[in-house]
Symmetry: C3
Subunit: 137 residues, 3 copies
Amino acid sequence: MPLVRISVRDAMPITKRRLVADAVYDAMRATIGIPEGDRFIILSAHSQDELFVDPNFKDMKRTADFALIHITLRRGRTVEAKQALFAEIASLLAERAAIAPDNTMIVLAENDAADWSFGRGEAQFVLQQPPATPSSH
Amino acid sequence: MPLVRISVRDAMPITKRRLVADAVYDAMRATIGIPEGDRFIILSAHSQDELFVDPNFKDMKRTADFALIHITLRRGRTVEAKQALFAEIASLLAERAAIAPDNTMIVLAENDAADWSFGRGEAQFVLQQPPATPSSH
Amino acid sequence: MPLVRISVRDAMPITKRRLVADAVYDAMRATIGIPEGDRFIILSAHSQDELFVDPNFKDMKRTADFALIHITLRRGRTVEAKQALFAEIASLLAERAAIAPDNTMIVLAENDAADWSFGRGEAQFVLQQPPATPSSH
């Protein structure tokens, strides 16, 4: 379900961008109960004229290796689950893509069960119930 | 009002991308009461190194024809209205752009009336009321 | 905190795009209490085949100078604060980048304190409290 938008600088090699995408997916699997295959990620690479990032806000040290991860997901995760997700993303990006944790920014946006259609024009998270109809007897 | 972000693969021809945009607008008009001219659509075409989509999640068959449609709109549509919107978008994309319904994914994000300015620095959905002032008599 | 996504036409010169980004940041500083350095802006420039904008909806006159500003921020600003933000953005874009107020569209998306990580895998807006543990005495 989560829809993930990743924004990086165009200087980041394509192989490294893929490592970032894979790490975000694995972190969601490990911490917020995302099922296997629930992987929908849009990555955009931007020039320095397009990605404006403060180098030090909140006492971080941000460089051209910065990765912004914007995740839309269903409402209801606890604060603790979100904290675990943040920690795991930062940890995996460091381990696998050598991106310093200071360079990993994450923003979540929550929506509702009825806000998702994975295909066929259906709202897969909404229980299919027959419409209420007047009794015909 | 809706702000529509459409993401497709760069292999999709430009004429077909336009058909997708038009179909989403027409589907919103037909199902969720969008007025004529309320058409604000940003389309992005991505290489295969940028758009990571599971080919089979939720038993769909997704191909390079995949279209992800992310719509920001005012809170308050019923589940039934959203289901009608999903069905109509999938139907029109199939009819007009030959995109299989399995390839149409839709994600909604709701916000509030005060979250929209269509121009001139005004919040058009908020009723213009004079500020409460102390009586001057 | 705010995450700002700006979409413009690729015909807009790069120097002007930067003026837009700077103006949005300054307007947020002036009207909704954004601290210095809280500047995270992603700008995308689109061809006319990618940015579909009604030229007249809500009685505006929109041209190729159109700027769409999509801001994700923490829940809780008053309607009046949002109105002040809209007015200031439109005003600064006109003054500094010569973008007519009719060409400035703004959409807000609110989320929660626990939805932000500025780095290090931490949720900086969530008060760090020790987990509840059984008394050990």
